[in-house]
């Protein structure tokens, strides 16, 4: 009767809170003119492998169908949407603005908080738009979305994948050494980086800030793409400041999300008291070409459960609020139908119940009014509220002596 590791149930009051957040996210997506799409939970393994790269397939829930076709549960939404767009929406005028709120699945060996095997992602993809306007649109929409759910002080760090390449080129590190240096910068493993004996690189891996941080890095960048990326970050900072986000957006040069996936601008959003990021995204111009559709794209996604954790830690708790029921009706379909037609939420009770039983039922569910129809006579009872008490931990029978 037990659940597999890393997944969970959502009880009515918990799901109500989750849905509320999902609807707030959808509202923001809608205001930015994004349309929601849905794809199957199951994809062919080769499709996911093509999009995510071989390394990422270690995170897949994988299985075969009866004809031995390798299938997997989607671990994120960007690859399924890239497949969907490159197969079904090629004729659609670009740029495309698509959104999703959807469950995804990851095979973490050791699931933990913020790293569940089933999670809900809410995010958007802007497909067919290159350049800083599209990048900034993703960032500013993410800022707005987190504000919409109540995280008005969320902070966002931005970076561009091309910069680290320019810096490594500038300090004369290439080939395999550059690849491993990038992983060390991403992990911010300064101890291992110092062994490369390259102080500018160590400083780079610790560098974070505003325009002054960008200026410092400009001095060690050589390549044209990396200099262009630094200009773009300067400009995004200015645009963020104009929107009043100046003190909440900073550049972090070690912010390197999935190295195989992101090709340019990227960002992550977080709040001070939570030790993991709440949302993130970036530009992935090489993904759609892998599906034969040569267009650039940028997107971002938020983990809905992580958002819930952040709100709960702030005391914006999941309310133990029941579904509102206006009236308990006993003995008449017609009376119940009339109440529903009047816009009330109606709970229907068995006709044979005594008045005491009906009052008990109404109290248990916080229903203020009872209407009882009996042989053509209609009576109404008012019910006072009563604080409900349920044990915080479910009382499931178990025998620890027999374990």
């Amino acid at each position: 009767m037990r659940l597999p590791a890393g997944v969970r149930d959502w009880l009515p009051h918990e799901l109500a809170r989750k849905r509320e957040i999902e609807q707030q996210m959808r509202a923001v997506f809608g205001r930015w003119a994004y349309e929601e799409v849905q794809s199957p939970i199951v994809e062919r393994f080769d499709v996911l492998e093509r999009g995510l790269g071989e390394e990422a397939t270690e995170l897949l829930f994988q299985f075969n169908d009866r004809r031995s076709t390798a299938l997997a549960l989607r671990p994120e939404m960007t690859t399924p949407i890239a497949r969907l767009v490159s197969t079904r929406m090629r004729e659609a005028p670009l740029p495309l603005r698509l959104a999703y709120v959807a469950p995804v699945f990851r095979y973490y060996e050791q699931p933990q908080e913020g790293r569940m095997r089933e999670l809900t992602q809410a995010g958007t993809e802007l497909i067919g738009a290159a350049g800083i306007d599209a990048d900034a649109e993703s960032l500013f929409m993410a800022i707005e979305a987190l504000a919409e759910i109540g995280l008005r002080d969320a902070r966002f760090d931005i970076n561009d994948a091309r910069i680290v390449d320019g810096v490594l080129d500038g300090v004369g590190i290439g080939g395999d050494e550059a690849r491993s240096a990038k992983h060390l910068i991403k992990a911010r493993n300064l101890v291992a980086l110092r062994q490369l004996d390259c102080p500018p690189l160590t400083e780079f891996a610790l560098r974070r800030g505003g325009h002054e941080a960008i200026a410092a890095v400009r001095a060690i960048c050589r390549t044209a793409p990396s200099l262009e990326a630094l200009d773009a970050l300067d400009s995004v900072l200015d645009r963020a400041a104009a929107l009043g986000y100046g003190d909440r957006v900073a550049v972090d040069f070690a912010l390197l999300r999935d190295l195989e996936y992101y090709t340019g601008f990227q960002f992550e959003g977080y709040v001070e008291e939570i030790g993991f990021s709440l949302c993130g995204g970036g530009r992935y111009d090489t993904l759609l070409p892998k599906f034969g559709y040569d267009v650039p794209a940028v997107g971002w996604t938020a983990g809905v459960e992580r958002l819930l954790i952040a709100l709960e830690r702030r005391g914006k708790h999941v309310q133990r609020r029941r579904h509102r029921v206006d009236v308990l009706v006993a003995g008449s379909d017609v009376v119940a139908a009339r109440e529903r037609a009047a816009g009330n939420v109606v709970r229907f009770a068995a006709a044979e119940h005594s008045d005491e039983a009906l009052v008990e039922e109404a109290r248990a569910h916080g229903i203020p009014r009872i209407v009882i129809a009996n042989n053509g006579a209609i009576r109404e009872l008012r019910v006072g509220a009563r604080a409900e008490k349920t044990p915080p931990i479910p009382r499931t029978p178990s025998n620890w002596d027999a374990r």
């Binding site: 908080e113 902070r155 760090d157 992990a187 911010r188 493993n189 300064l190 101890v191 291992a192 110092r194 610790l206 974070r208 800030g209 900073a250 972090d252 912010l255 992550e268 977080y270 709040v271 001070e272 008291e273 939570i274 030790g275 993991f276 990021s277």
Partner: protein, 209 residues
């Protein structure tokens, strides 16, 4: 500037960790006693935790940063950023066996190799990298006893001076890696409290080891 919460390991690393933090201007008590946590005069919160628990406190963000041996980082494999090697707390993670078995001199290993250790994750990684099939026997203390009592052929253990091995007529068969104390931070908190953490890093790094 943001106030920090620092996870400090109790036990053998404590004295050096406390000394180093004091040199960096943080008022760490010389003796913890039975306290779990202390707020210093400048508002820094200190958490006194078991060494093996430091990475968990930092990864989940209950502490912004901490001091922990590299051996614990290998073993717990948690997502923390290692910003500085503090130099103290030197020890080696080694594979050791009985002198009379002569594994250290190249005697062939048993086909069904049994390895006792308190460091299961590290031992598993080490033998897996060498494609060597082993039966790992996780123990919680006095691992030296395992080969003497016939529970295991080899042990994987931490060695500081080597005295314990010598006392039980055990020898190092292979050194896996050397460990020292590290200054670690939560990667997201590093951004959130950047100025305070960079300042602490600078002060910790400027003190000679």
């Amino acid at each position: 500037m943001d106030r920090l919460t620092i996870a400090i390991p109790k036990g053998s690393l404590y004295r050096d960790a406390a000394k180093r933090l004091r040199a960096a201007g943080i008022d760490v008590p010389t003796d913890v006693g039975r306290r779990l946590t202390v707020v210093t005069s400048d508002g820094t919160t200190l958490l006194f935790v078991r060494p093996a628990d430091v990475p968990a406190y930092v990864e989940f963000g209950a502490a912004d940063c901490g001091i922990v041996g590299k051996d614990v980082l290998w073993e717990t494999d948690r997502n923390v950023a290692e910003l500085a090697d503090l130099g103290f707390g030197y020890c080696r993670l080694v594979v050791a066996g009985r002198r009379i078995d002569r594994y250290h001199e190249g005697a062939p290993l048993p086909t069904f190799l049994r390895v006792a250790t308190k460091f299961s994750h590290s031992a598993e990684t080490f033998f897996a990298e060498r494609d060597l099939p082993v039966e790992l026997i996780p123990l919680h203390g006095s691992v030296e006893l395992a080969p003497l009592a016939g529970l295991a052929d080899l042990i994987v253990d931490l060695v500081a001076t080597g005295t314990t091995l010598r006392e039980h007529d055990l020898v190092v068969v292979e050194e896996i890696a050397a460990s020292t104390a590290r200054f670690v931070v939560n990667p997201v908190r590093f951004r959130a409290k950047y100025d305070a953490l960079i300042a602490l890093l600078d002060r910790l790094a400027s003190v000679p080891a």
